[in-house]
Symmetry: C2
């Protein structure tokens, strides 16, 4: 039997500690894993592209635990009433090769993406940041809002989406959450209007194309850009001149992956970037001064899912009442007797009894 | 909700039609998928090696369905009461990216490996083959025995394992199965003795090393060798001179993978081999004459797991009573409202009621 966290279990686990607290604790776990960056075997994700989307497998290991995430990205799904991104993942023991936990990661990916965004902003944004633009008000918007309000002290959220229904949904949800009661939400008529006066600009749009959500005229010195939505080949959100500006500093998760999937895909291979692991380990700076435009070119890296699966598994220890398990693996008295211990069992037992 | 086949479900599905029939039907499915070889996007497996074993992800797609298998290989596991190989897999819809089925694949891998072995032997072994040596009597042995008895008319099985307990287990299990009532089992004292008079030699040993289970002196003209156990880097079973013999013909599943993982790893890169897909499609021969020594250098390819997952999913249609589903994915009224449809739901409902 292996542990199982379905959507209903994840809901129970998050509600037990609160969304903001979950994001904050997960962000601590992610940071501690980035500090031991060199211990991880980092493999490029395996991606299978089709005309309508992509299915990816994202494995990683530190030699003790192994995790992988299955994740799809299908922008047209929402028009069919389906999610753009769904995901699940597995935590396994490297010593035995046995899976330990199967978990939903659709909701968890939104939580860990917010946790990673806020974590990066802690190292990169100006510490007096209070106003955030949130452009793209879809599936991930609430998670970003809750995380930035709790951990970075964001007081004002300037929201915009090409789809006003998405913005209305975001406003409705934020009004219902006690954790963000102190957060003022300002609806804006354009991305440019949302950026006006913002200390941090978070972009979480979904279209699979080279979009230009942000242009250089919207950028002010000292801003931190949290570019979440440009996360696969052919999908970007920032005008390339924003990245090329002399006062810009670009931080990525895992450089080889970001060159293919991130905003970086618009730039030559020798464009200089900093890996986030070097920032948390003190060998590089997240921000060199108050006027720099810091850009977290986030694509989502397997290490963050590793942290999330490890964190979820740790929560199960205290979840005795709700804990579920599934029979994904055979449990055999004799490990060499796969047949007799499974499909052959009834026949064997019958014979022994008859004899 | 997605379909779920745990170990108990797999047992029920196999018992409902019989092990031999399951292997035979699966073998038909595998053959039909090999016939459309060019439709598949074939990706090398993603392997994570540790000092004690390997964890692999094996994805494949034909543009309509996508599957992957998680599989470990840990030879030392049996000494800890655990299986050497465990596996599970997922079948997904390429159009939406949504997983459709999560299934155990530990038992299924043994069934599909036997199905593939017998399928290859049908194209490669002499049609008058009646005697098979079965060297390695561990977890996969019964499946091979049942498959070859049913589909190839094997009447005598000459069995050998370095561990006599494994052989005793195999004999006990085979005696309990009505499907192999006509199969004579001869216990042998060595691999060489097992090979004596055999038409087919099947090797399914587990040690992760360059072993020499078969040497050239054991090989007779006209034999078919079904080399199953040499299936990862550093793990082989055949003396290389067997492969290099002038009357030898080597067939593999997917050449780029077999060069790294199969018996082929002992030979130079230009050693000529035939892909099985060319045999089933008629562009190459599985056997050119009665004196050839045909060698199926089997490592297991993702296409066979694709066939198995597709076949298992088709069986669920008639399994209405037993069919299980799990909540691995959120089901949302509004696909853009991930938060409000999951962890935010209670709060939102509470507010709406209060309002």
């Amino acid at each position: 039997m292996i542990d199982y966290i379905g959507v209903s279990d994840l809901e129970r686990l998050v509600r037990a500690i609160g969304t903001g607290s979950f994001i904050e604790r997960l962000s601590t776990e992610i940071e501690s894993d980035y500090r031991r960056w060199d211990e991880f075997e980092k493999t490029p994700r395996s991606a299978s592209h089709s005309p309508v989307g992509v299915i990816e497998l994202m494995p990683i290991t530190d030699g003790r635990l192994y995790t992988f995430k299955y994740v799809n990205g299908h922008p047209k799904n929402t028009s069919e009433g389906l999610l753009t991104v769904t995901a699940f993942g597995v935590l396994a023991d490297v010593h035995t090769g046995y899976p330990l936990l199967l978990s939903e990661l659709t909701v968890t990916t939104a939580l860990r993406t917010a946790a990673m965004s806020v974590l990066a902003a802690r190292w990169m944004a100006r510490s007096d940041s209070r106003v955030m633009a949130l452009i793209g008000n879809g599936a991930q918007a609430e998670f970003q809002a809750i995380g930035f309000h709790r951990m970075l002290g964001i007081r004002t959220l300037r929201v915009y989406d090409v789809d006003p229904v998405a913005t209305a949904k975001l406003e409705r949800n934020l009004r219902s959450i006690a954790e963000v009661a102190g957060l003022e939400v300002v609806r804006c008529g354009s991305a440019a209007e949302a950026c006006r006066g913002a200390d941090i600009v978070t972009t979480v749009t979904a279209d699979k194309k080279n979009a230009v959500i942000l242009t250089p005229d919207m950028i002010e010195p000292g801003m931190h850009l949290n570019a979440v939505g440009g996360d696969c080949p052919g999908k970007t959100e920032l005008h390339r001149d924003i990245l090329l500006a002399p006062n810009a500093r670009v931080v990525v998760e895992f450089e080889p992956q970001s060159r293919i999937e991130g905003e970086l895909q618009q730039l030559p291979d020798d464009f200089r970037v900093t890996e986030f692991a070097d920032v948390v380990r003190g060998s590089a700076r997240g921000r060199a001064g108050p006027d720099e435009v810091t850009i977290f070119d986030s694509v989502g890296f397997a290490l963050e899912d590793y942290s999330a699966l490890r964190f979820l598994h740790s929560l199960l220890a205290a979840d005795t009442a709700g804990r579920r398990q599934i029979d994904l693996l055979p449990e055999l008295v004799d490990p060499k007797d796969l047949f007799g211990g499974t499909i052959g069992a009834t026949a064997a037992v019958r014979i022994r009894r008859a004899g």
